[in-house]
Amino acid sequence: MNKIIEKKQLSDDVFQMCIEAPLIARSRKAGQFILLQIDTDFGERIPLTIANGDAEAGTITIVFQSVGATTHKLSDKNVGDYIENVLGPLGQPTHVKDVDWVVCVGGGIGVAPMYPIAKAFKESGAKLTVIMGARNKDLLILEEDMKAIADELIVCTDDGSYGRKCLVTEPLKECCQREQQPDEVVAIGPPIMMKFCSLTTKECEVPTTVSLNTIMIDGTGMCGGCRVTVGGETKFVCVDGPEFDGHKVDFDNMMKRLGAYKKQEQVNHDKYHDHECKAEKQADELVAKQGDK
């Protein structure tokens, strides 16, 4: 049982939660993730990257977008509530290479797991450029945190409601075309963004690391549900990753695999949503009735 210590709404459907997990907080390193299950009997297990951790306080921070039944349910939890199962830290930690200049690209909620990685590079003495993007201004998260550690911060939105009106690949390409190229690019975000970041840097031959978030059950190598094709070989994201060479990942296959249960996930989400709406309606009716009395 893991208690929720803090909850913040970062944008319309993005939430940040600080949860009690002393051993994970003690062992975790940048780049690692957890598996979370809200209820033991019938819950599903979903992987979430650890955005931050405090070993002394015994807490970890996760950032998630309410997109499916489980994340929706999670977003309905409040401070003081419990999450029944949290397993971690899983996966290989980020290999913080000794480089002069690193460009960290975060898209959407990918900015959250990017934060500890960017920080680790900064602490290793690298010059840090952060490119962060979102569909619109309201979906931008952790800008202040990034500003505090980045030597150079480029913010862009798809609709131009804040920062530059462009996709993250545009400033990324500019960075790669400067006289002195970056030594390393790290990209975390939606698969499609990571795919195009990798294509952009491949042209310029800048080494690129991406962090993948796939379907998983156990997170220890047992089920193989998370397998991806990297350089023609099958790899397990949970134990071989989550970080891979972006130039070698077969993103198209990965995206298709991510959609494997789309229909059932939609049904489950709708079910939860309907259930919730019904409950709300019942509550409203109850309040109205009591008002009548």
């Binding site: 009997d41 599903e44 297990r45 397993l87 099958t234 298709k256 494997a260 059932q264």
Partner: protein, 493 residues
């Protein structure tokens, strides 16, 4: 074999008992008593539910079956039992209707009789050596030792006498058990009995290991597994779920920082093998581990479960072991119209238990033997559309003693499908060896352990599939017992 209902089996057992002079049976008489078949759910009904297929003997059936035992003085059956249960004794006690004595006899040697009575491959262990089977020249005519074991174990659970297990005074020594499968459960109980403090670490959210995630409900009800876990807790064993040794904390951390005096690694063979063929990462291709875990542990077959599972129309399972049978029979229950089992040797070489093969056939699984998948075919959306197979014939015996399958050239043909489940085995999960310096592994990645389960590291023991490679529940238990004895001995010194 046509289906015979429980009622008919019971009537015939009663008939037999009426005509037997139970007190004065000669071996010749015993040999003439017909084998008692296991009552089971009607195949037409059970293919639509997850409930247990085998229902269990009635007391009359158990008595008749027990009377078939010749009570051999040299008890050859016992040498086939990895934990050395006194088989003739517990069977004699069933024949005398002394059920409590019978279960007590079993429990001297085995901790999980309700589990082993169900999932042990008796036909290659105790029942293989049965004199009756030998005399009748058919191992399937051996005394049904497993069914009898299950009968007394289930009866014991129903009556729930709940006699507390005796624990010796606390010694203050701490033992870490990694993994809560059959090996871990066995070591935990045996070590705790000696008064040591025992903590079991389990990565999943529910303890039980392969008994929970691997073996389906219809073969081993999860209630039975949880009963065993509850028993452990009652003995004072601590169970830490959501704890993956090697990541949450490493084994050296447990020993050096957390004050454990010894550790037992029973983390199982959790690394699925794939075939490395074209199309294996298409949507709709699963390892049997994933498919079964979704159904068994995550309960995806239930309406309430949040975990999705493929609702396939046409499925192929690749492999011929018990796991392949489990996956095929699960697919049937999840509503698939056609379920194929593709195996490259012939049925005679199948590693699955005969009983499982028969059950699968009764439930409508279509067997394609002497065929193997060459590549998996998909469409533009990356979804499985079929498999291209090759036909095989059998050649000379290979290292395993089984006749080697040889592909027949130009014999390709296609089966249209939407789901492929790969059930060709498991390798050892490398997580613990990778995070434990000095822990010796062999070329297959299994942890090297001596006869007592002792590894290359001080205070560290291992057993079960992580040492044996993918094996059986009872072998894991047998290894666990030896390792537990060695740990107990080490802690005394």
């Amino acid at each position: 074999m046509s289906y015979i209902s429980k009622k008919e089996l019971q009537q015939s057992a009663c008939e037999i008992l009426k005509n037997l002079d139970c007190e004065n049976l000669k071996p010749k008489d015993r040999m003439q008593i017909p084998l008692q078949e296991m009552p089971s759910q009607d195949p037409a009904i059970r293919r639509n539910n997850m409930e247990e297929v085998a229902i269990g003997y009635t007391p009359e059936q158990a008595k008749v079956e027990a009377l078939r035992c010749l009570q051999c003085k040299n008890a050859p059956c016992m040498k086939g039992c990895p934990v050395n249960i006194d088989i003739p004794k517990f069977i004699q006690e069933i024949a005398e209707e002394k059920y409590q004595d019978s279960i007590d006899t079993i429990k001297v040697s085995s901790l999980l009789p309700a589990v082993c009575g169900r999932v042990c491959p008796q036909e290659t262990q105790c029942q293989l050596y049965c004199t009756l089977g030998k005399a009748l020249k058919d191992v399937e005519q051996s005394v049904s030792i497993g069914r009898l074991e299950r009968f007394v174990a289930d009866r014991d659970a129903q009556n729930a006498t709940d006699v507390p297990i005796e624990i010796k005074p606390e010694t203050g020594k701490k033992v870490a058990i990694i993994g809560s499968g059959p090996a871990g459960i066995t070591v935990a109980a045996d070590v705790r009995r000696e008064g040591h403090e025992v903590t079991v670490f389990e990565a999943f959210h529910k303890p039980g290991g392969v008994l929970m995630y691997g073996i389906p409900e219809f073969r081993l009800p999860k209630e039975i597994v949880q009963r065993e876990i509850t028993q452990l807790k009652k003995m004072g064993v601590k169970i830490e779920t959501n704890f993956v040794v090697g990541r949450t904390l490493t084994l050296p951390q447990l020993l050096d920082e957390e004050g454990f005096d010894a550790a037992f690694i029973g983390s199982g063979a959790g690394l699925p093998t794939f075939m490395n063929i074209e199309g294996e990462n298409l949507v709709g291709v699963f390892s049997a581990n994933e498919y079964l875990t979704r159904s068994n542990l995550m309960r995806a077959f239930e309406e309430k479960a949040a975990t999705p599972i493929a609702r396939s129309k046409k499925v192929a399972i690749l492999g011929g072991g018990n796991v392949a049978m489990d996956a095929a029979r699960t697919a049937v229950r999840l509503g698939a119209d056609e379920v194929y089992l593709i195996y490259r040797r012939s049925e005679a070489e199948m590693p699955a238990r005969i009983e499982e093969v028969e059950h699968a056939k009764e439930e409508g699984v279509i067997f394609h033997v002497l065929e193997n998948v060459k590549r998996i075919l998909g469409n533009d959306d990356g979804m499985v559309t079929g498999v291209e197979c090759l036909r095989y014939e059998l050649g000379e015996p290979d290292d395993s003693g089984r006749r080697r399958p040889i592909a027949i050239e130009n014999s390709e043909f296609v089966i249209e499908l939407d789901t492929v489940i790969v059930a060709i085995g498991n390798k050892s999960n490398p997580l613990i060896p990778h995070t434990t310096e000095g822990l010796e592994i062999n070329k297959w990645g299994n942890i090297v352990a001596d006869e007592d389960g002792k590894t290359s590291l001080d205070k560290v023991y291992a057993g079960g599939d992580i040492v044996l490679g993918a094996a059986t529940v009872i072998l894991a238990m047998g290894e666990g017992r030896k390792a537990a004895a060695a740990i107990n001995e080490m802690l005394v010194d």
